[in-house]
């Protein structure tokens, strides 16, 4: 970009400082996954708005999308974090339910003082989630069990404990702090949605602006090089799964904020859905790359498509087909794009299972 080398060098230094800043701050603004999701959101929205303008463009519909997206959005962000390290967490939904059950149980047990003690119960619920995440983290980082298996097992354990605890019943009741949040809006925007944005921002900061976040990304990008760079995989993985546990706990809070009930089997269909959302949002299933914005947009997209299918009176099975097709088409187009960009260099080895990040 510079012809005159002598003076150019100062400019180059300046430009590169700029670049660093830009790459660190706004990594996702220029990101392809985000752009793709933006396009998808707009296209999906425009399509259904054109087909069913009366229903689709109502504030009520927008609000409903905004109320429905947060719980899967937060779960998908948690999944994204696990996938960023090249792992996966199948137990997030079970953890979320444990948190919800804890809060609801404590609230009911406290009787009339339940509302006053609400914040304490929420804290305890989050501690439960944290312990769940810690168990996952220890199994993955210490015992060395592959994440997909470790969390498959803990999913059953956490879920089983929830069944034992509740006897299979749906618990009713939640502190007012939560239910109030569930119904409230600020300037027409549901507080639940604001909560999603806050979580997204928090995780965005974690990933991009903290040492742990960078380590998580590097761990996923190339675990061997990470180890040789003095990044402790134990600590990084432990931190990651504790975070996914915590996010699961937050999702559990959103469950009961939206609806003051808790049960062992709420959200069973979310487990695989959130993997789909995370990948749609640009998360590399082999680790190393992900953007929070992409994931939030992906959650919104599926919400929009789902409400659109409903408004069009298409069947849930057609929606399942559409969801699968969207995932596949996005993956294929990504791959084609990547190959075109890399033409000339041999393509990466075919990717195996989602868990083992292929070291370059």
């Amino acid at each position: 970009m510079t012809a005159q080398k002598e003076q150019g060098s100062l400019r180059r230094v300046n430009a590169s400082v700029d670049e660093v800043a830009r790459s660190l701050v706004g990594r996702f603004q220029t990101n392809r996954g985000v752009r793709r999701m933006l396009v998808l959101v707009v296209v999906a929205f425009a399509l259904f708005a054109a087909l069913r303008p009366g229903v689709y463009l109502s504030t009520l519909n927008l609000q409903n999308i905004a109320v429905a997206a947060p719980e899967i959005g937060v779960l998908a962000i948690a999944q994204m974090l696990a996938m960023l390290t090249g792992g996966i967490d199948l137990s997030i939904v079970a953890v979320a339910n444990l948190t919800a059950i804890t809060i609801s149980t404590l609230y009911t047990a406290a009787g009339s003082r339940g509302d006053a003690l609400g914040p304490v119960f929420i804290l305890i619920g989050l501690v439960v989630a944290l312990v769940g995440g810690l168990v996952n983290g220890l199994l993955v980082s210490r015992v060395g069990i592959t994440p997909i298996l470790a969390t498959l097992a803990t999913m059953q354990i956490f879920n089983g404990l929830a069944v034992v605890w509740t006897g299979g019943r749906t618990l009713y009741g939640a502190p007012r702090v939560l239910t109030g949040v569930g119904n409230a809006t600020v300037g027409g925007i549901p507080v639940l949605f604001i909560a999603l944005l806050l979580v997204a921002a928090g995780i965005g900061i974690l990933i991009n602006r903290t040492a742990l976040g960078h380590k998580i990304q590097l761990q996923g990008a190339n675990p061997t090089a990470a180890a040789y760079s003095g990044i402790s995989s134990r600590r990084t993985l432990l931190g990651t799964y504790v975070m996914t546990g915590l996010l699961g706990g937050i999702a559990g809070m959103l469950f009961i904020a939206r609806n003051p009930t808790a049960s062992a089997d709420y959200g069973a269909s979310y487990t695989l859905l959130v993997i789909v959302i995370a990948v749609l949002g640009g998360t590399n299933p082999n680790g190393g790359f992900a953007t929070v914005t992409g994931v939030v947009l992906a959650a919104l997209t599926l919400q929009i498509v789902s409400s659109g299918f409903n408004a069009m009176r298409w069947s849930p099975y057609q929606y399942a087909v559409a969801q699968g097709l969207i995932l596949i088409v996005v993956m294929v187009s990504d791959q084609v794009h990547l190959r075109r960009r890399r033409r000339g260099t041999p393509p990466a080895l075919p990717v195996g299972p989602a868990t083992p990040p292929t070291p370059v």
Partner: protein, 500 residues
């Protein structure tokens, strides 16, 4: 070996570019039956690429491949095997999850287009070749559990088990003992008597001169010379390989007499790898650690960095006793390590240069009390290292994948310099780096030493050691067998001691 004999393999004008950079710029070569043709050249000059093109693993951008009079315009690995070409790849290309016996016979079965696989047929074939070579190899062991030398032997057996017409060996002897090498050469002679054509790549020039009838030399992807081996000697080959303009002369500043010890190693032992290794590295000093592959030099380096903790012995950094059981311990003690395998161990290929540079020093940039990263200071560090190491890239957010070998190595170096290590260990610092970059990297190391670091270079590139090291330790069979200092650091002495 008559002049008139038709070549069994002819490649001409092969061009190959990787992501815009030329690995081969129009190379031609012809192989005659019953001869050994040697391919020589510096790291990264394109030898392996040429071999991969002949064997159908890579597709050339342009050029012709003619095997025994038949032109192949879309060579594939199985097509090459059908044409009678067998290859010992530099990275072995073995299956770690299969046994040595299976590895040896499997390619042949593929080449024979068999549908069924029979252990009963496989085992004797593998045994026969092991017997012919007169080597010891546990055929029933999974290859991933074998030592590097045994892996190399497995790869050799695999190539020899066939009645190949053309046998290509990409550095087949790096990990072998002298006797093993001699046995291999005996087999090579038998093969040539049977009329097999061999293409042989080695950095060990004495080997080249011993077995080859013809030598082709490449430099930076271009053909430099093809000549009968009898007309060449080690010095002239070296000259053709490197060109003349590169200064590899010894430039070492004298250390102050009172330079303090920054790293002291006493009686370090790891059974099976090395034993009773002791040495001292001073502030400002560049110490070389050399030996053949498998001599234990890499393991010593990896022990110091906690990858492969030593069983016994003491390590002292800057006067402090350190227990180094893990990489964390080493980094905490102030040790940095540039690994041998840059691509998998050193770099995050898809991450940016910037992210790579701060990978090891992230914790140092945490702000208090927020614990968020201090992006301004990070940017300063990155920019300063980017400039100081003269990394050639459009900007610091380019992915490392887009860099050449020399620049990628500078990124690894920058990553460790960012941690301001007391001791910097480099394992093969210039492997796969071309001559220009190489002398620059060596200059950077001299500079870092002058700034008060202790630098430990582990390498089998003797000229490079001679060029920068104050002292050189020669390792043989896990022990320090000689220490050379000052004017004693000399190419011939080192090479002699290494191989003795």
């Amino acid at each position: 070996m008559s002049e008139s004999e038709a070549p069994v393999l002819e490649v001409s004008d092969i061009v190959k570019t990787f992501g815009g950079v030329r690995a081969l710029a129009g190379v031609s070569l012809s192989l005659k039956p019953g001869t050994v043709h040697c391919l020589a050249g510096e790291n990264g000059c394109g030898k392996s690429t040429l071999i991969k093109i002949i064997s159908g693993v890579e597709r050339p951008d342009s050029g012709r491949i003619v095997v025994a009079g038949t032109e192949h315009d879309r060579m594939t690995p199985s097509g090459a095997m059908d044409a009678g070409i067998q290859v010992i790849y530099q990275d072995f290309s073995l299956f770690g999850n299969l046994t040595a016996a299976e590895n040896i016979v499997l390619t042949g079965e593929v080449a024979a287009h068999r549908a069924l696989y029979s252990r009963r047929r496989a085992r004797p074939a593998a045994e026969r070749i092991v017997r012919e070579l007169g080597i010891k190899l546990d055929l029933e062991e999974d290859v991933e559990r074998l030592s590097v030398a045994d892996k190399q032997l497995t790869a050799i057996c695999r190539a020899l088990v066939h009645d190949a017409r053309i046998l290509i060996m990409d550095e087949p002897t790096t990990a072998l003992t002298r006797t093993e090498v001699q046995r291999l050469f005996a087999v090579v002679r038998q093969l040539t008597e049977r009329g097999v054509a061999l293409l042989f790549v080695s950095h060990k020039l004495d080997e080249v001169l011993q077995v080859a009838q013809t030598v082709t030399i490449l430099r930076n992807g271009s053909h430099v010379l093809t000549a009968p081996a009898a007309e060449l000697d080690g010095a002239s080959i070296g000259r053709y390989m490197t060109g003349h303009d590169i200064d590899e002369s010894r430039q070492v500043v004298r250390l102050p007499a009172d330079a303090s010890a920054v790293l002291e190693v006493r009686d370090l032992t790891l059974p099976g790898a090395y034993r009773d290794v002791s040495f001292t590295l001073h502030r400002g000093e560049i110490l070389g650690l050399t030996g053949l592959l498998g001599s234990g030099r890499s393991e010593i380096a990896e022990s110091l960095f906690g990858v492969l903790p030593a069983r016994s012995g003491t390590i002292t950094v800057d006067g402090q006793d350190c227990t180094i059981r893990s990489i964390d311990d080493a980094v905490a003690a102030g040790i940095g390590y540039v690994p041998e395998d840059r691509l998998t161990q050193g770099l995050f290929m898809d991450a940016s240069i910037a992210d790579n540079i701060i990978a090891s020093s992230l914790d140092a940039y945490r702000r208090r009390p927020s614990r968020l990263l201090d992006r301004r200071r990070i940017a300063e560090t990155i920019t300063s290292l980017f400039g100081r190491l003269r990394i050639k890239a459009p900007n610091v957010s380019s992915p490392v994948r887009s860099l050449s070998g020399g620049n990628a190595q500078r990124v690894v170096l920058a990553k460790w310099l960012a941690t301001k290590p007391k001791v910097l260990i480099l394992n093969g610092p210039t492997v796969g780096v071309d001559v220009g970059s190489k002398s620059e990297i060596l200059q950077i190391l001299r500079q870092e030493a002058a700034d008060g670091r202790g630098v430990l270079i582990v390498s089998d590139d003797v000229p490079e050691l001679v060029a920068v090291c104050h002292r050189v330790l020669v390792i043989r069979q896990g022990q320090v067998v000689q220490e050379l200092e000052g004017d004693g650091v000399d190419l011939e002495t080192i090479q002699r001691t290494m191989a003795a």
